[in-house]
Symmetry: none
Subunit: 401 residues, 2 copies
């Protein structure tokens, strides 16, 4: 596999623009009644015409058979081998809300949850309390003082919050207290490597105090922590590709991820139409644009086939706004599949559509899993996408003499 | 490439079952008269209907263009990178006959062969002597005593035997004495690395004594040794995948290989029907089943196109026995191609058919090389198969947050 250093050696600055439209959880599975996936069910005349003039394929973000989390899925899309660069969930949450982590900080993703009188988890999301309620509870948690460490609890969205420990010699090798299922008690924090013993001790002390404070705050009467992590050492997209990249997204995690790889982040709260308006506004300032659509994944995770279809159709309907900017390269894909039938991320390869003047048009006449399966791009690794996009934007020179 | 350690981190125990049916040497080349391969010529209505409801593809067990031996081909099928894990032929033979190798033992595969008065090999298989004759000769060879080393010669099948040296500081870096062709004399054993000098010396002493003993036992008047090797350090499938794997096979080598990766081995002497009966008998005790069909490869190696067709048809005919167990995942593939036209293993990618409820059905309507070439699984590395099978059995969780 070509290294980031080698990519850097062949990448060149040029005025051409690349737009990468990521429809989260895009890939699906067929409705048994119709034999068609979400993407195949959706009316997508704009995508179909782009597919007709472009090239299609399938991507494995991490590896065939491996279901990517959103972090690894996105890292792959941006050209970073997700098996080499691992980003903890805690760090992602911190980046997502713009919390400036120091190198020595340890961050974790928190959930407010519900436990019964025996301490057994009955709802991992505390009935999805409001973000306001979450902020109020975080304010209470922030009052906790422990010797030798500074603690932060910050609201993210609904039941989700960010927990950060700041101090000397903290280590992230601590297991999740979140067992990721109901019917059991939360886990104790334990050091998975010896240098994290003190950190694990701090976590347990914190959780003990939290439990006392939240006792009368049902349904949010307990917390679950997972993804203890420190900032990874990751080169920026500017360094590797010599791009000036911009991200346009709504959800914290995706903005955080984009920030981590050096993108300028634009916030869009009102869907694809607003995202494409922002794209037009900042179009002259950047040469790479990552646009994130979250609702397709949420619909898939909820098992709502027809809502996922509608999200895809809404994006398709808005596409002319993007097309009129005439970017040299347009990539439409997802960070992983989220078939409504499986109600979660899956291992199925993700459809990809690439349009450029130079893409060697294939026989695909529509944007669908089945057209992509026999498309001209073939089956690519996730990390190949940036290379193919850069190449089609004429931003890569020859490798070797 | 995802590591075995990373796979271990995402694998989970579940009640679902995976059956991997390996039709040895499955892939072929078209008969010039009909334009159809062995698999395409065979009437395989059961495979075809499975293909119609499943997904097809092609696999490269080691690498595109590389012809796999049976060891590497099978290791890849079980998810072990055959370029990282190498298993000597001697070790395979030992495992196959249930000989318990110690870590310090050096094993080799032996052939009884025929040499003429000048010591030139005229038949590498000594006219395929009977297994009884082989046992009788091995008994004689076992009488040989050499200082500081214990020697074993054990019959395998027909002209094949196992040679094992047991002692202090033995090393396996010794070249084959088998030149793998007739018309020349056997090679002297030479150390390819200096620590194996004494071992090579022992081999030569042994061969000298053997030659005296066998002098009057034409056609088996000499031996050829190859694949000097020690037990490799290889994690079990139980450790990596958290599976309880079973192997159902007839030939020693495949049983040996299965034992090496921690499978419970069931012996079946009477073809696919008996293998599938054993499958039914042990079905509740295991969750992964490797079933090996040897005759397709033998027919291919003999250049017998129509016999290979018949073997495939016999397996297809027996398939309903397997189907009625309703395993969650069925994989039908080979460890390599053995086109009858080439009379040997080949580099051609191997057709694979995967059936599961979650496999994202493709357009393949039959199980054939050409349908596989445009199938939804695409072109996979051999080591991807276990991941895809595990994923389809819902035995893998998300990678990363």
């Amino acid at each position: 596999m070509i290294t980031l250093e080698e990519i850097n050696q062949i990448s060149v600055v040029s005025p051409s623009k690349i737009v990468m439209l990521v429809i989260d959880g895009l890939g699906g599975l067929p409705d048994p009644k119709t034999g068609k996936t979400e993407l195949e069910t959706a009316h997508t005349s704009n995508f179909d015409s782009l597919a007709e003039n472009g090239a299609c394929g399938l991507i494995d973000p991490v590896s065939p058979g491996v279901t990517p989390g959103s972090g690894p899925g996105h890292l792959a899309l941006f050209g970073y081998d997700p098996l080499r660069f691992t980003i903890g969930r805690g760090v992602l949450e911190a980046l997502g809300i713009g919390f400036e982590l120091k190198e020595t900080d340890v961050a974790a993703r928190g959930n407010f949850c519900t436990v019964d009188d025996d301490g057994v988890i009955t709802d991992r999301r505390a009935g999805r309390i409001t973000t306001d309620k979450c902020a109020e509870l975080c304010e209470m948690l922030s009052q906790i003082k422990l010797e030798g460490v500074e603690l932060f609890a910050l609201p993210v969205k609904e039941h989700r919050f960010l927990f950060v420990m700041r101090g000397e010699e903290l280590a992230a090798e601590v297991n999740d207290t979140d067992p990721q299922r109901i019917g059991v008690a939360p886990n104790m924090a334990l050091a998975t490597e010896s240098q994290a013993k003190n950190t694990a001790h701090i976590v347990n002390e914190f959780v003990d105090e939290v439990q006392e404070i939240l006792a009368r705050h049902q349904p949010a009467n307990m917390i679950l922590l997972r993804g203890f992590s420190k900032l990874p050492d990751i080169p920026s997209m500017g360094e590797i590709y010599k791009l000036k990249p911009a991200a346009i997204a709504c959800y914290p995690m995706y903005k955080g991820l984009a920030r981590l790889v050096g993108m300028k982040v634009f916030n869009a709260e009102n869907g694809i139409e607003e995202e494409l308006k922002i794209l037009a506004d900042c179009y002259s300032e950047h040469d790479f644009f990552y646009i994130h659509v979250k609702e397709s994944d949420s619909a898939g995770e909820d098992g709502d086939f027809s809502r996922k279809v509608k999200v895809i159709e809404r994006v398709d309907y808005a596409l002319p706004q993007l097309l009129k900017l005439t970017p040299e390269v347009i990539v439409v894909t997802g960070d992983h599949s989220t078939p409504a039938l499986l109600k979660g991320h899956s291992w199925h390869p993700v459809p990809i559509l690439l349009y450029s003047q130079w893409c060697r048009r294939d026989k695909a006449r529509e944007f669908s899993e089945s057209a992509c399966a026999s498309g001209g791009l073939g089956r690519l690794r996730g990390t190949d996408i940036m290379l193919v996009a850069m190449a089609n934007a004429l931003k890569l020179t020859k490798f070797g003499a």
